[in-house]
Symmetry: C2
Subunit: 210 residues, 2 copies
């Protein structure tokens, strides 16, 4: 049985959670209490030395410790429905936007949050090593987030999906990222009509309630 | 004919350059003069609005504007030899380490360099938007780079390749990243014997001279 190490309130494992659901993959879920610091405890550290969620234990008994690994594995092991594209150009478009959403959207939000929250003192980055907060990085994160929302809105001007004219992992990552922005009190608004239209349409998928 | 928009002295396009060579893909190369700011000029901006290299114009006439897109496209279009793995678990291991090398290695070096170099004033991030330098981020980048070299050395303790017991895009990214560290005056040393052994072995591949 596949096991997802998850945290119901956290954005990174939500990506894996939605991906599993979109592919209809039966699995068990183990909640890891990030607020209590369970990811840094001895028990979870043995499961994932990187001290992050998601982690996914496969049928073969291997534990995958990043969304990158989980997506590559699930797509190869359970190809239908495809979430990374099928043709070379579709794969390229989806990989491109998946990467942009991560670097230009998700990371700036994480920077804005982790470098400014009292709860994240000394924890400016996830993982086993502590790094001090950098207030200027929180500010830059907020500025980059506005740029990202504007770019994503423009991208969606004449599209129903982020990439390759099909629902893909890029849409999953984008929904999770846009929703995650609430943690720094940012939501798409009247400046982002195409983005709002797309987010409403995505909300029709039952998996987006996960 | 495939065209690579390249810059011979820059690390990001080197990843695409080596990947093309390892797959034996015939292509043309156009040099973009990053030192002169050609990537921000009107001509290149029409080719790649993100103002970055590498970009790759495909046989179909589509321009791919990130290493993520280029790798996904080339692997699907020219599957042999595989660089992203073949089995689900190998694909996962390679994607995992490819991601870690990018986030834990390449980005810290870029942060250490771009936030501390006079040549990069106002250019703390690549792309069309200017962001101010954050000196603390340069310092953090150097600290994270030491952590990365230590982790990579440990990873290679009993391995000839970064992931999945085979040469892959993770090795390409790791060679480019380890070599890129020179820009902030960091090189693996006697604390990293496994990393040095692997780098020497990689140097036997003619593509690593590119």
């Amino acid at each position: 049985m596949i096991t997802l190490y998850d945290c119901a309130t956290a954005p990174s494992p939500r990506r894996a959670r939605i991906l599993l659901a979109e592919k209809g993959i039966t699995h068990e879920t183990v909640q890891v209490d990030l607020k209590a610091g369970e990811q840094l405890g001895d028990v979870y550290r043995k499961i994932n030395p990187l001290c992050t969620v998601p982690a996914l234990r496969t049928n073969e008994g291997v534990t995958l410790t990043s969304n990158a690994a989980i997506a590559a594995y699930l797509e190869a092991r359970f190809p239908q429905p495809p979430m990374l594209g099928v043709t070379p150009l579709d794969k390229a478009d989806i990989a491109d936007w998946h990467w942009r959403i991560e670097f230009e959207g998700f990371m700036p939000i994480a920077e804005a949050f982790r470098n400014n929250s009292v709860a994240m003192l000394h924890r400016a980055l996830p993982g086993p090593v502590n790094y001090e907060q950098i207030p200027q990085l929180a500010e830059r994160g907020l500025a980059r987030l506005q740029q990202f929302l504007s770019d994503l809105n423009e991208r969606l001007r004449d599209r129903d999906f982020i990439a390759a004219q099909q629902f893909s992992i890029a849409d999953i990552a984008a929904v999770v990222t846009v929703d995650f922005a609430r943690i720094v009190k940012v939501r798409p608004d009247e400046r982002h009509p195409h983005l709002l239209r797309w987010r409403t349409a995505m909300g029709q998928r039952p998996t987006m309630a996960l």
